[in-house]
Symmetry: C2
Subunit: 331 residues, 2 copies
């Protein structure tokens, strides 16, 4: 039998285990032109929360009683397709199934000898590309500028901070535990860290950690931390809206202070970013990330949860900040 | 005697006549290298409210018990400076005085035979330049797109709308009286108008007037109208934060719905704009505006108040929406 995870009901507020359902189906057999894939690593990401909501967005919402999909590394275990052979590993947007059939469309082969397979879901996957391309397109970092990052020990945030250091910036990260702060500074080379959970006055804390103000704020969280960043933004500052995890589980319309005044006075640029819009740049961006990885300018952290049955819980843990770096489930 | 208008106290909330003081001084006499200027037209603008506040901003705040300054057209009535002769008209940032002395720095000669003198404070002054340069730098209008403008019958807004029509856009304006809506459509060629004072559901009204959504929102007002525009913004929409007049007189921190979610989902670009940052583009931009003016593609409206003593009241009237087009005081 083949195990599959369905979205059973749309989460209200914070997702719960009961929003998911484990279903069994016959293990599929590849027909002509098809390949049989065995799931090895599953990426769980905050943006999946958005697809569980029945709303217009950049990708269609998940259907109820259908499998959820996310970034997955799988092994080709049977092939009737000339482009893939048994033993190949591929990366693609696939379903939360132990085994599945594909025609190969949208799948990219990955090399397990170059880096660990899970890295293709992180630093060399959409998370690394998000960091690199958004800083390139919107951040426009200049040497000596100050880069502030929220969700800084996470998959995207830790890469953003390291690229900031490569570019010669003063890099300050915000995270929710002292352990994460230590990781940021010792492993990823951030200059300063702020623990938002033990800090009362975030506006002041950011001001203290960024004595020259904030030139670029890379935002993964939204909400009050964004407010405090805006209170410290410099003239011609840039804000990259990459995510807003602090709001994803809100059931009411979240409110906060208005930014219009600051936007005008400081001529701030604020721009939302979705890595999927930049597929044409994935090639050169991946090459740059690989090169930095090879020469040791870039490193990464993963939180690996084991077992197909633990995928939903790993996803829920994202909203508790239980991951350090990329959260991946190993099957 | 020479009459001068001082800032007497910093306005709390909405400015009042009592915030200003009329002072008399000796009429000045030009020394060597100096010119004597007689004020002809005074520009009153919403942004001056910001300079009355004691806060860090893009220009220093006005000092208490010192003259206010704004864009002024003046006549050279005496000259000890080779670059200016009696009878010249100039445009510059000058003090609210009937007569004043200058060395000529920062003054530009204007030609009263080309267009009416007051136009140099409006369509050929900072307001016209604001419209043209911000649309060029941030708006990036494409033929067939939808442009939404607030403060649409005002000096900047009416120029923005007309440039939108020149670029082949569907142009919708928001204003506060039916008379202004009529002006927008009949004189400035807007496709649709929305009276925000008589409309309960601005989100729906904008949706109805912009059936293909909003590609570019040019915001002069901020607040709830910005919220309603964001509710209708398209993927890759651009928001130009040019002003936030609805908030200028707020004494508490204004709050509203958070935009982070929309910014990410729709990959919106939002950017504050101050025309002073773009002085190097004033030359070519003015040429383009003059050319459009000459061939009748661009027109303008002015509200001219008469009399030096009425400058403060004309400024206050801006916050009541009493102007159509550029508000100017003729001395």
């Amino acid at each position: 039998m083949n195990h599959v995870i369905h979205l059973k009901r749309r989460p209200k507020g914070k997702p719960q285990l009961e929003d998911f359902e484990f279903v069994e189906e016959q293990k599929p057999k590849p027909k002509d032109g098809e390949i049989l894939l065995k799931t090895k690593y599953v990426s769980v990401d905050p943006y999946l929360r958005g697809r569980m909501r029945d709303q217009e967005s950049y990708i269609p919402p998940f259907e109820l009683n259908e499998p959820i999909e996310s970034g997955i590394i799988a092994e080709v275990v049977a092939s009737n397709n000339d482009h893939f052979k048994e033993g190949d590993f591929i990366n693609g947007m696939l379903k939360w199934k132990e085994f599945q059939i594909s025609m190969g469309n949208g799948l990219n082969k990955v090399d397990p000898d170059k880096v660990s397979l899970s890295a293709y879901l992180g630093i060399l996957g959409l998370t690394g590309l998000t960091a690199y391309i958004s800083l390139d397109k919107i951040g426009n970092l200049k040497e000596g500028e100050t880069l502030l990052v929220s969700g800084a020990s996470g998959a995207v945030g830790s890469t953003v901070g390291q690229i900031g250091k490569i570019k010669g910036c003063h890099v300050v990260g915000i995270a929710g535990t002292d352990e994460k702060l230590k990781l940021m500074k010792e492993k990823f080379g951030f200059d300063k860290g702020i623990n938002y959970k033990t800090t009362d006055d975030m506006k002041k804390a950011i001001g203290d950690a960024c004595p020259n103000g904030v030139d670029v704020y890379f935002d993964n969280v939204g909400g009050e931390i964004l407010d405090a960043a805006m209170d410290n933004i410099n003239k011609n500052g840039r804000v990259i809206n990459c995510g807003a995890i602090s709001l994803y589980n809100e059931t009411d319309v979240p409110t906060g202070p208005r930014y219009e005044g600051i936007m005008v006075r400081k001529t701030v640029l604020m721009q939302g970013f979705l890595v999927r819009d930049h597929a044409t740049e994935f090639g050169p961006a991946t090459k740059q990330l690989e090169q930095w990885l090879n020469v040791g300018k870039l490193t990464y952290e993963e939180t690996i949860v084991e077992g197909f049955k633990n995928i939903p819980q790993a996803f829920l843990n994202l909203f508790e900040g239980k991951n350090k770096g990329k959260m991946v489930v190993k099957i």
